[in-house]
């Protein structure tokens, strides 16, 4: 089963930690995601540019509206994501807890929904039967 691990932290607080800290953290993330990719756990993922580069797009009544900044102003900002393959939530929690920025911010773990496979409420039972 696929889970998306969304990495959040407070950008300002991270900046205050200085350049050396930032470089070391990046190295750590490279090493961790590299290992996960090699073992087939990580399917995709990336770090993101800071939230100051974000643009929010909406379509209302056929009109595109574009605004500067993220959809919601929050204390912690989305900083990157890991798309992983895990057996279950406990497995995904283990992977997420070792994502380096988990020490400073938080990781939101969300199961991925397969929009092609869902047609009725029988699907959960199909999952049950497979296991």
């Amino acid at each position: 089963m696929k889970y998306l691990c969304l990495v959040y932290y407070n950008e300002a607080a991270m900046q205050e930690r200085g350049d050396d800290h930032w470089r070391a953290l990046n190295k750590e993330c490279q090493a961790y995601s590299g290992g996960l990719t090699e073992s087939g756990v990580m399917l995709d993922g990336s770090a993101l540019q800071p939230v100051s580069t974000a643009t929010t797009v909406r379509l209302r009544d056929g009109q595109v509206s574009v605004t500067d900044g993220p959809f919601a102003e929050t204390k912690e900002q989305l900083a990157g994501f890991y798309l992983i393959e895990a057996n279950d939530l406990n497995d995904a929690i283990r992977v997420a807890s070792r994502i380096p920025p988990a020490r400073y911010g938080s990781i939101e773990v969300r199961p991925v929904r397969d929009i092609y496979g869902e047609s009725s409420d029988q699907v959960p039972y199909a999952e049950a039967l497979k296991s």
Binding site: M1, N87, D88, L89, N90, D91, I93, R94, V109, R110, P111, Q122, P124, Y125, A126, E127, A128, L129, K130, S131
Partner: protein, 416 residues
């Protein structure tokens, strides 16, 4: 009594003792809470139909698991009629069912523990953990849970439905965690148990007689977890001991009219010595393990009280020492408050007030009625009537339990 009545009674008894075990195994085999609950009902209906004629099988538990499983397979087959893939999967499950039947009995205790860890998974909201545990592990009805927590039944039902949906959609596994994870996840289980206990403990002084005895349910649950864990966990022993020590005093906590009786005025000859002895043994084991935590220390404090012949003859120095240790493990304002109260007993109310003064600046304690009640009591013992009165007033303004409010009003009257 006819043979038929006798069998029905036995089925009733088997339902009481086995239904949670059978459910736990069916959830694992079927991978779905609702499907398993339906299957459990179907299995007992089948038993009521067949056993009076054919006799109760040698191993009713295995029979029920097997019957429930085949009922579920039937249901899946009916649903899968138009879906070839589902159909094949139902058939695979059916084929495997025959092979696996032999080993079922061995795994059944593990299944109960799996169920507990799944219901108390930290990925579920605390309220949901509590409701789900009481529903699935303890077998309480949604209505009973709602009454116990003074909530509306549809609210509780919705909470349970959402929790089950998360278990399914986020795939919270049906497993007992291992290694470091076991210890971490056990904390969540113990918190749920203690929350259930405290809810019952507070309610017993309330005005509802219809509420299910949650304190005893929590004790049973802790006993169950302790007996199922692969090795005795000190904090599980500590929590069970703590609850037993509180429970041992239940007959003396309130008067016949439901008024609160303070620890110092309780009739100690009525405390349940058998429960205290059992708690002693648990606390001793937990302390010896050197891996104990806050529950064990709180139990140790309660045990010192349980063995003191009176409030005056209590080893307050020992209690202050235990609170010091507890504060290092669990630095909380409430623990600091309790420590200050013990200091007042050991060194006198004046020293107690000195220990309490800096704590009252904490926002939590400032809003906590018992902090003001403690302050009031120390002033009262020093003969400072006006200070005592204003502190009791502050406590009364913050108390929400009717019995506690009555108690504080009584204290104000006694001050004159």
């Amino acid at each position: 009594m006819t043979v038929r009545d006798d069998t029905e009674q036995r089925i009733q008894h088997i339902f009481t003792t086995e239904s949670r075990r059978v459910l736990a195994t069916l959830i694992r085999l079927l991978g779905d809470f609702d499907l398993a609950e339906d299957a459990l009902q179907e299995a007992f209906i089948a038993a009521l139909r067949q056993w009076p004629g054919e006799g109760v099988p040698d191993n009713p538990r295995a029979w029920l698991v097997s019957a429930g499983r085949f009922k579920a397979i039937d249901q899946l087959r009916r649903r899968a009629r138009h879906d070839q893939i589902l159909h094949e999967q139902a058939e695979q499950l059916a084929a495997r069912a025959v092979v696996e039947l032999e080993v079922e009995n061995l795994a059944i205790d593990d299944d109960r523990l799996r169920l507990i860890f799944t219901c108390c998974h930290p990925g579920l909201a605390r309220d949901a953990q509590v409701a789900l545990t009481l529903r699935e592990v303890c077998g309480l009805t949604t209505e009973e849970i709602a009454r116990a927590f003074l909530k509306k039944a549809p609210t509780v039902a919705q909470r349970i439905v959402r929790a089950k949906a998360k278990i399914r959609d986020a795939r919270i596994p049906y497993e007992v965690p291992e290694g470091d994870e076991l210890y971490e996840r056990l904390q969540s289980v113990l918190q749920v148990i203690y929350l259930v206990f405290n809810e019952g403990y507070l309610a017993s002084s309330g005005d509802q007689v219809l509420r299910h005895d949650l304190s005893e349910e929590a004790i049973r649950l802790a006993e169950l977890v302790l007996s199922l864990l692969p090795s005795p966990e000190p904090e599980c022993q500590g929590l069970l001991a703590l609850m037993l020590l509180h429970h041992a005093r239940r007959a003396t906590r309130t008067t016949a009219q439901g008024e609160l009786v303070l620890l110092e005025h309780q009739d100690r000859s009525l405390w349940d010595r058998a429960e205290i002895a059992r708690a002693d043994e648990l606390v001793r084991h937990a302390l010896q393990s050197q891996r104990f935590g806050p529950y064990t220390l709180q139990a140790a404090i309660a045990a010192v009280h349980a063995h003191a012949p009176s409030s005056e003859a209590t080893d307050w120095a020992e209690i202050v020492g235990l609170y010091d240790l507890l504060l290092t493990m669990m630095p909380s304002p409430i623990v600091a408050l309790n420590r200050a109260v013990a200091v007042a007993m050991r060194d006198g109310p004046e020293i107690g007030l000195q220990a309490l003064a800096p704590l009252m600046e904490d926002a939590t304690l400032h809003d906590y009625h018992l902090a003001h009640a403690a302050r009031a009591d120390m002033h009262r013992r020093l003969g400072q009537r006006e200070l005592a009165r204003s502190a009791y007033q502050a406590a009364l303004e913050r108390a929400s339990q009717p019995a506690e409010q009555r108690f504080l009003r009584q204290r104000l009257v006694e001050l004159g």
